[in-house]
């Protein structure tokens, strides 16, 4: 019981302290850019109403999901092909090294040429930025399949889809998830930027609108929403990862216990 209490204390103490510090330091602040936390929190429910959630947050999330899903499918599929054949890998490597080094946000103006400023543009931007970490990590993961396991599967006559699903992708999945995690944070960045660049709805668009119209407390609530969104998505990702990779974490834990 004491230990649980202590843990709760450790988890909550600093955040509470920081928020209290912010509250105290900003209370009575007359600086336009740093409104009191009290004002920000009071504005929050007025700004982020159910309508706004439906009109701005939902479209953003749908675009992020669509782009991210495209990137995941394409990245894993291409990565599996490239990772499976040594020649293909050598052939593609320099080009891939270059393409992944391009900072994804510069794709926004390029893709705008092709796709205008609609949803297609934003989904394409998110997908084309997220695909690289997934692709490269899949290549590495597929390449590093344990040779003993691959040979064993072969001698048991496991081939085709079963081999792909139960041997190759299964053993590459920890790496693939590492790529997906990187891709998620890039995806959020691109979601926000593509909306700041050109949009008529979305979280990024709303926040910039507040800033341009000098609605400073409203803008702060937008920053808070973006921060919360990033946090929630990363928690969701962790939950999914723990479910999907439960076998792997278990394996590693037992390997560490008995060296």
């Amino acid at each position: 019981m004491r230990r649980v209490l202590l843990r709760v204390l450790f988890v909550l103490a600093l955040p509470v302290l920081l928020v209290a510090g912010w509250w105290a330091a900003s209370d009575g602040s007359t600086n336009v850019f740093w409104p009191p936390l009290r004002t920000i929190l009071k504005t929050f429910p007025d700004v982020w109403t159910a309508d706004r959630l439906k009109d701005d947050v939902l479209p953003s999330l749908l675009r992020l999901t669509a782009g991210y899903a495209c990137a995941a499918v394409v990245g894993v599929a291409l990565g599996t092909v490239i990772g499976s054949y040594r020649r293909v890998r050598a052939f593609c490597e320099p080009v891939l090294e270059f393409l992944r080094a391009v900072p994804p946000p510069v794709l926004v103006p390029v893709i705008m040429l092709f796709a205008g400023i609609g949803d297609t543009m934003k989904i394409a931007v998110i997908a084309s930025g997220c695909v690289w970490p997934v692709l490269l990590n899949t290549v590495e993961g597929v390449r590093a399949v344990d040779p003993v396991m691959a040979e064993t599967a072969k001698s048991y006559g496991i081939s085709g889809v079963a081999r792909l699903k139960d041997v190759v992708l299964r053993s590459a999945s920890p790496q693939i998830f590492a790529g997906l995690r990187q891709a998620l944070s890039i995806g959020i960045i691109l979601m926000v930027i593509s909306e700041m660049f050109a949009a008529s709805n979305g979280i990024g668009f709303t926040v910039v609108q507040f800033q341009r119209s000098f609605a400073i407390p409203d803008m702060w609530t937008g920053i808070l929403v973006l921060g919360l969104l990033g946090f929630v998505l990363s928690v969701v990702f962790q939950v999914v990862e723990r479910r999907m990779l439960g076998w792997y974490h278990g394996l590693r834990a037992s390997a560490r216990r008995s060296p």
Binding site: F10, V11, L12, A13, L14, P15, L18, F33, R87, A90, F91, C92, E93, P94, V95, E97, F98, L99, R100, A101, V102, P103, P104, P105, V106, L107, V108, P109, V110, M112, L113, F114, S185, I186, I188, I189, V192, I193, M196, F197, G204, V207, V208, F210, Q211, I216, M219, G222, I223, L226, G227, L229, G230, F231, L233, S234
Partner: protein, 260 residues
């Protein structure tokens, strides 16, 4: 082994050639509009024009300044914070939840604030770059410190080494490979955020030049600048890996790589 490397290099070169040839052929054959995607040769021409232009080099310098300063501040702060958090008792447990909460916050959320506070000044770029890359370094330092061999730590304690000596001789060498990984990741992230800040906020640099090229419909120039940012990213990745290998020449993970 050597023959294999040569074959790989030849294949890689062939891949690049095919990539460039596709970039030339696809617009020429009319598969996509030339106005949207100019042939590779026209992009190369535009690139040559950029290289001859003084303002291009100023923009490149601006981008690199933002990147380097931001990376330096973030790395320094990340390393110091990481070591302090792991050395001071209970600090690690107390900060864990806060770090887990702050880390996934997308740094682009700070764009409106940066615009209000600093407009298109360098500080705007620095806010975004430092926020994004700080966490990369900090988290790696914390991982690295966790990896310290308990026997080495206990030995150092029983020989009466003080806190500072233990940080210097036990903790730091163990954490260094992780620190290097963190700085390498941070270098890539810092470039992304530096270009983003220029593109979205309009701080001077390559990103702002891309935005200008886009607004004035100078499509080949825009592609040329995108290629420049890609090359820059490539140089940073390759450079960071080289630095890592040099600084860690004594470490197993690097020695293993060379031996194979």
């Amino acid at each position: 082994m050597k023959g294999q490397t040569a074959v790989n290099a030849a294949l890689g070169a062939a891949g690049l050639v095919v990539f460039l040839a596709l970039g030339e052929a696809v617009p020429r054959l009319g598969l996509v509009k030339e106005a949207y995607f100019p042939p590779a040769s026209r992009i190369a021409d535009a690139l040559a024009d950029e290289f001859a232009d003084d303002t291009f080099w100023t923009a490149l310098g601006d981008t690199l300044t933002g990147w380097a300063l931001g990376l330096l501040i973030a790395s320094g702060a990340g390393i110091v914070a990481g070591i302090v958090i792991s050395v001071v008792p209970y600090l690690r447990e107390a900060t864990a939840s806060t770090i887990e909460f702050l880390r996934p916050i997308p740094s682009v959320a700070l764009i409106p604030l940066a615009v209000l506070l600093y407009g298109t000044e360098l500080e705007s770029v620095l806010i975004l770059v430092v926020y994004a890359s700080f966490w990369q370094v900090l988290v790696q330092v914390l991982y690295g410190v966790q990896d310290v061999d308990p026997v080495a730590e206990e030995t150092a304690r029983s020989y009466g080494l003080g806190t500072w000596a233990r940080v210097r001789h036990v903790l730091w060498p163990t954490a260094l490979p992780y620190v290097m990984t963190g700085v390498r990741l941070a270098a890539a992230v810092a470039l992304i955020l530096a270009v983003t800040a220029e593109l979205v906020i309009g701080a001077p640099g390559l990103g702002q030049r891309i935005a200008v090229a886009q607004n004035s419909q100078a499509v080949p120039e825009m592609y040329a600048l995108v290629v420049v940012t890609g090359l820059l990213g490539l140089l940073i990745n390759v450079g960071a890996r080289a630095v890592e290998r040099r600084a860690l020449a004594w470490h197993q993970s690097v020695r293993g790589e060379v031996a194979v």
